[in-house]
């Protein structure tokens, strides 16, 4: 039993990382309909930027600067790559973001390194025990910060003018444009917010996922969580990602260890077979 509790605890911590990446992905999808396959790689770039900054300045400054640079980077990508193809079919956008993902991966490899880098964790990874269950401060911080970001975002979407405008754009682009909302600015803003969240995820996750150009592939685990929760639903994605994280860690207890790596993908396919609309029953029909 303790094994199970321990596995679930570890799983929720891993799941929180998936959830943060998922969050960054969904915010863009919800308000712009863009399926951004490069989200994971934007996160990886942010982690590399923070890695370089950490060498030359104190932690707090490096983190804030990384969030700002990442936001600017997200804005640049939106203006440079996404906006010109905004009105093309989903098919084109998916392929373009895949191309972008590859450019970012190659770019990171050339600028920094293609190898795995040891990333100093911001919070210690030394475990402490409550009862027989081990916790690491890093995982607890990851869970806490994820929850804070989710809470802040829900407040932002609900109570600020910008947040309301974003929800309006998500519902109907044309109508909100007619109501005087600057749809293009909203798109840019969405990418900035999403890139910053991705940066937070990257900084927190780098010590666990290891920092290297292929780190962004973690996004596929987020996809599994997003689909499990119901595509397009933020609470669904977070619950789904937690379940994926827990399931991965639990699988080690019952199945040969090799399954851990592909368990998320198996769940992804299984959900698509059994219930494509996910737990929360959302199914995007238009794309």
């Amino acid at each position: 039993m303790e094994d199970v509790i321990q596995a679930v605890t570890n799983g929720v911590a891993t799941g929180s990382i998936y959830a943060l990446a998922a969050l960054a992905f969904i915010i863009i999808f919800k308000s712009t309909d863009v399926i951004n396959f490069a989200q994971g790689d934007m996160m990886m770039i942010s982690a590399f930027i923070s890695f370089s900054l950490l060498q030359v300045m104190p932690t707090w400054a490096a983190v804030i600067l990384t969030l700002l640079i990442s936001g600017a980077f997200g804005y640049g990508l939106e203006r440079g790559v996404i906006r010109p193809i905004m009105d093309t079919p989903v098919f084109t956008i998916v392929i373009a973001t895949l191309g972008l993902a590859s450019v970012l991966q190659g770019g990171a490899g050339l600028i920094w390194t293609f190898d795995v880098v040891v990333y100093p964790p911001l919070f210690t990874m030394d475990a402490f025990k409550i009862g027989n269950i081990a916790f690491t401060p890093l995982s607890l911080w990851i869970i806490a910060i994820s929850m804070m970001i989710v809470a802040a975002l829900s407040l932002f979407f609900k109570f600020t003018k910008m947040g309301t405008a974003m929800r309006a754009v998500a519902q109907n682009r044309t109508a909100s444009s007619l109501m005087g909302i600057g749809v293009k600015n909203i798109f840019s803003m969405t990418f900035i917010i999403s890139a910053s969240i991705g940066a937070a995820a990257g900084i927190l996750a780098a010590p666990i996922l290891y920092l290297w150009p292929a780190m962004g592939l973690v996004l596929i685990k987020s996809f599994a969580g997003i689909i499990l929760g119901g595509f397009g639903s933020i609470p669904g994605a977070i619950v789904g990602c937690m379940i994926i994280g827990a399931a991965e860690n639990l699988s080690v207890l019952y199945l040969p260890a090799q399954f851990k790596h592909i368990f998320a993908y198996i769940i992804l396919l299984a959900v698509l077979v059994i219930r494509p609309s996910g737990i929360f029953g959302v199914m995007i029909k238009k794309v």
Binding site: V94, I95, A96, G99, G106, G109, F114
Partner: protein, 331 residues
């Protein structure tokens, strides 16, 4: 049904085929160039199969390296274990991959665009990881050596013990599969695929059986890729999991985007591109990922129908011009 081979198309096809038949046989042509030509043949089969699913039917796959790996490993293991000779293993590999494609199509039938992309992405990872972990059968990350391909029994019949001999086999297979593909895409099947790509709702309203044709597209695509995988393994004499990563799936995608969606000629050009680029960049390995990405971005934004579409556009403009001048002459 339209005639696939017309007098006009023969006029430019024949010389190419003759060159492909004669030149590699010349003694001074290096094995290396023959190997490159063989590789183009293998990739052509992949590109056509991939195009049937993604270009014609509009179902994005990011997991075709998975099919490629299944084909390569099935053929290699069957021959290596002495179960069946190469010439039997090849169709088995294709059919087995086709069956896997059929099974993967079943969950994808209820899904739309990006879900299929994600499902195939997951599939690609599952295959890659499974091959890696099934040590006992696949040799894990060390891979397995592939025995010499033969036509006939295990060591009897024609043993294709040189790149040149195997080249002619691959050339024959490539031509057969090009011919088959033209027959598929120019008949009602191809038209059904295109209709599904343009609008699933409209297609089903016009009486296109979505379930049947989407499954068919998936299965044919997997079959083609499986055959190509089997040929690939025998061409390289050795296969390992690190040859079948997500980057290969991505390269396949770049191949048909550059060559041109929904075009057999485009598929061939894409295959030439995919073979040539890494050869030119062999000293700049590290730049490969970024260059592939940039080329994909450039083509999808500025040349969305690929090289084949570009040529078609030029032909079309020329035809318009010719029509305009002939009209003037009449006046």
């Amino acid at each position: 049904m339209e005639k696939v081979i017309t007098k006009q198309s023969l006029k430019w096809m024949l010389p190419i085929i003759i060159v492909l038949l004669v030149v590699p046989a010349l003694p001074f042509v290096l094995d290396y160039y023959v190997f490159i030509l063989s590789l183009i043949g293998v990739y052509t089969i992949v590109a056509i199969g991939f195009n049937i699913m993604t270009g014609y039917t509009g179902l994005i796959s990011i997991g075709h390296a998975g099919f490629f790996a299944i084909g390569a490993y099935t053929a290699a293991i069957l021959v290596d274990r002495g179960l069946v000779p190469f010439i039997v293993a090849l169709p088995i590999a294709g059919i087995f991959t086709g069956v896997i494609g059929f099974l993967l199509a079943l969950p994808c039938l209820r899904l739309f665009g990006m879900y299929i992309a994600m499902a195939t992405l997951a599939f690609g990872f599952i295959v890659e990881e499974t091959v890696l972990q099934l040590n006992a059968i696949t040799g894990g990350h060390q891979g397995i050596a592939v025995p010499m391909p033969t036509i006939g029994g295990f060591n009897s019949g024609i043993v294709m013990d040189s790149d040149k001999k195997f080249y002619y086999f691959i050339l024959a297979m490539t031509l057969i599969f090009i011919f088959l593909a033209i027959n598929i895409v120019r008949t009602k099947y191809g038209r059904a695929f295109l209709a599904i790509r343009e609008s699933e709702i409209a297609a089903s309203t016009m009486g296109v059986d979505l379930t049947k044709y989407k499954t068919m597209s998936f299965t044919i695509s997997a079959f083609y890729t499986g055959i190509a995988g089997a040929l690939f393994g025998n061409l390289l004499h050795y296969i390992a999991p690190n040859a079948f990563t997500i980057f290969l799936s991505f390269q396949f995608l770049v191949m048909i985007v550059v060559g041109g969606f929904a075009s057999v000629v485009g598929s061939i050009m894409g295959a030439v591109f995919l073979t040539a680029l890494p050869e030119f960049m062999s000293s700049l390995q590290e730049w490969q990922i970024i260059v592939f990405g940039l080329i994909l971005l450039f083509f999808i934004i500025f040349v969305p129908y690929g090289v084949a579409g570009l040529i078609k556009g030029i032909q079309y403009k020329r035809a318009l011009k010719a029509m305009a001048t002939s009209e003037q002459e009449i006046q």
